[in-house]
């Protein structure tokens, strides 16, 4: 178990962070917030290989692992860049790698890795454990509006659907930087993929939840850093407000939570990579990091005082992302319910 960042991961982080600093600084994200996904930025991420890190080289990917994907997710969380990373590079890609014996899946993986196309997994973003069925209207699907190809579980089989053949209706999202849409594939031509569809989708939900934990860590880190910087600079009562002990203690507690959350998120990414202890590691990380990220974003707004309540300050983008991430791929409570039998802490005894 390695919970540190490797040198390679540090390099990857620096590269992605540079790009995002240039192209998706909070003010930039805020300015283009009504415009949906940033396809140009998304293309650049694909070209640098950041969207296919955990896809094997044989399938056209980078042959790295979920640890590296998690590092990218952290940076994306730090910038709340509006790119369809979760929907396409994590969820849809995870399903396809699971079904890569199917030639259509393999072909699509290659196109995704080369940045030629974007996919989305058609399940409500709030899904956890149960595999929803993609027939009829599927509500609150992440990154669907940006997708060319829809990956749709139907009755235990995963189907590919050309997005132009489906009805994809963008809805107003709480999280303005990860737009959701309602999707209906009724009547659209579909390409079924061979292989255990439900297993593939379940595995994708697990991978997605584990990677989201890293996104949440990056998000919380931005909130902490930004708050600390503001507390140093903002003066009231003739002092930097960061010299007031009650505020100091609150950010110290936040830092403490983040130290712990980071370890959990790293463990989840490591477990997804090694395949050891995956289910426990992911549910520990997702339940904890969800709570820490929401608290970090809420404290960020509060400790900025009035300015944190304004549209022009980016704090709200993080608050909305944090709150949506808390719901995404299983709320903390649902992950704890998942853990109960895994760690032998059932509510009822099994006879």
């Amino acid at each position: 178990m390695n919970l540190l960042y490797t040198d390679i991961e540090d390099d990857l982080r620096a590269t992605v962070a540079d790009l995002l600093r240039d192209r998706a600084a909070p003010a930039t994200v805020l300015a283009r917030i009504e415009s949906g996904a940033d396809t140009a930025l998304w293309g650049e991420l694909a070209r640098m290989g950041a969207t296919s890190l955990h896809v094997s080289e044989a399938l056209g990917g980078q042959g790295a692992g979920y640890r590296e994907t998690a590092v990218v997710a952290e940076e994306l969380g730090r910038s709340v860049a509006p790119v369809p990373f979760l929907g396409s590079a994590v969820l849809a890609t995870a399903v396809l790698t699971h079904l890569a014996d199917d030639p259509a899946a393999r072909a699509l993986l290659g196109r995704l890795a080369r940045g030629e196309t974007t996919a989305a997994l058609v399940v409500p973003l709030s899904s956890w454990e149960q595999v929803p069925d993609g027939r009829g209207l599927v509500r609150s699907v992440a990154d669907a509006a940006a997708a060319d190809v829809l990956v749709v579980p139907v009755a235990g089989v995963v189907h590919l659907v050309d997005a132009r053949d489906a009805v994809v209706t963008p809805v107003t999202s709480l999280d303005q930087t990860r737009p959701i849409a309602d999707v209906d594939i009724t009547g659209a031509p579909t390409t079924p993929l061979a292989g255990p569809g439900d297993d593939a989708v379940r595995a994708a939900l697990v991978a997605g939840a584990g990677i989201l934990a890293s996104e949440q860590v990056g998000l919380a880190q931005w909130c902490l850093d930004t708050t600390v910087a503001y507390l140093k600079e903002r003066h009231q009562f003739g002092r930097p407000v960061g010299s007031f002990q009650a505020l100091k203690h609150r950010v110290a507690d936040l830092w403490q939570s983040l130290v712990v959350a980071r370890a959990a998120a790293r463990h989840a990414a490591d477990a997804l990579t090694t395949g050891v202890d995956v289910d426990i590691a992911v549910s520990v990380a997702k339940s904890l990091c969800s709570t820490v990220a929401v608290r970090a974003a809420e404290e960020c707004v509060q400790l900025h005082g009035g300015i944190g309540m304004t549209w022009e300050h980016p704090a709200h983008l993080y608050l909305k992302r944090a709150k949506a991430d808390e719901i995404a791929l299983g709320t903390p409570g649902r992950h704890r319910a998942t853990l109960a039998p895994l760690v032998d802490l059932p509510l009822q005894s099994t006879p």
């Binding site: 009504e34 409500p124 973003l125 709030s126 509500r139 609150s140 809805v171 107003t172 999202s173 709480l174 999280d175 303005q176 959701i180 003066h235 009231q236 009562f237 003739g238 002092r239 007031f244 009650a246 505020l247 929401v294 809420e298 707004v301 509060q302 005082g305 009035g306 300015i307 944190g308 309540m309 304004t310 549209w311 022009e312 704090a315 709200h316 608050l319 909305k320 709150k323 949506a324 808390e326 719901i327 995404a328 709320t331 409570g333 649902r334 704890r336 319910a337 509510l347």
Partner: protein, 390 residues
Amino acid sequence: MSEIQDRVAALLAAHDPATTDRLEFLRARFDAGLAWVHFPVGLGGLAAPRDAQPAVDQALAAAGAPDNSPRRIGIGLGMAAPTILAHGTDEQRLRFLRPLWTGEEVWCQLFSEPGAGSDLAALGTRARRDGDDWVVTGQKVWTSSAHNARWAILVARTDPDVPKHAGITYFVCDMTAPGVDVRPLRQITGEAEFNEVFLTDVRIPDAHRVGEVGAGWRIAQTTLMNERVAIGGRPAPREGGMVGAVADTWRAHPERRTAATHDRLLELWVESEALRLAGIRLRQQLAAGSPGPEGSAMKLGFARLAQALSGLEVEFLAEDGLRYDDWTQRRPAMVDFTGRDAGYRYLRAKGNSIEGGTSEVLRNIIAERVLGLPAEPRVDKDVPWKDLPR
């Protein structure tokens, strides 16, 4: 009391609500001393005890009389009026109170600045004397109703060379005067409920100064004390406010319920009910003539519960919690914290621990004024305002 009842009867006899113009009725009511009975005679009152007012309101409402839409003119009624009464000149009282109470003239409050929030006394808006006028330049923020307002209560710095509390003066500012620029301030909900107000060489006649030059800080305390009472003191029925909205969501979605959210909801329900009881107890104390400092407890609790409840609601709604009703920038005439969807409630509630005194400042006040704990070492008490770090 029976004199007041007689006056109510006389007012209704002379101005039948069914046939009298609304504004005409309100003016007559003011002139009859039935606007706020505890105000002096001639200023809308009868110098009667404050607790004689509810009976008047009820009797008039029962007779079908119009009211003055108190929520719409809350800043005037709750803040400007008591301040002008306490510290204004006779001319100011006569000029301002009647149209304030009838709602003909809406008021707003120009207090907070980008650099002076919790530390209001640090404000930097400058007022320089020029003949019979003051010339005011600066930026104010978090001004509700500024775009509807005819008048503002304003605090500005008239002397930067003395410590910050000493150099502030209190004015009435004409919002239609040249140099007053009101811009909507968009919030995280998408709405623009408040405004920024830019003041550029705005001329205010010295006759619109309230109280002595340099006495503005003390006078502003009158205003703020009334604001905090107003925010903290609302009565509510069981499940009134945020808890009711969230309980209804629970009832509407049996399919989303889990044991864990159940206990959290019940915990917050219990706290909301107890806070409601504390509000009733506070009103009973006030009615018994022994007001306590519990208003600040109400405000702290209200903010915390509104945030916790709405946060739980969004989480509980899961795939529906991911959605929002509308990000369009609007300027709502009145704010209803629970009026829109769960996402709005969640975002708007974040302001409850900031507006009208942050929860952090309230805790300081409780610790020092209620519990008598010693103040922190102060570095800004004896320093001329112009030399303070900012």
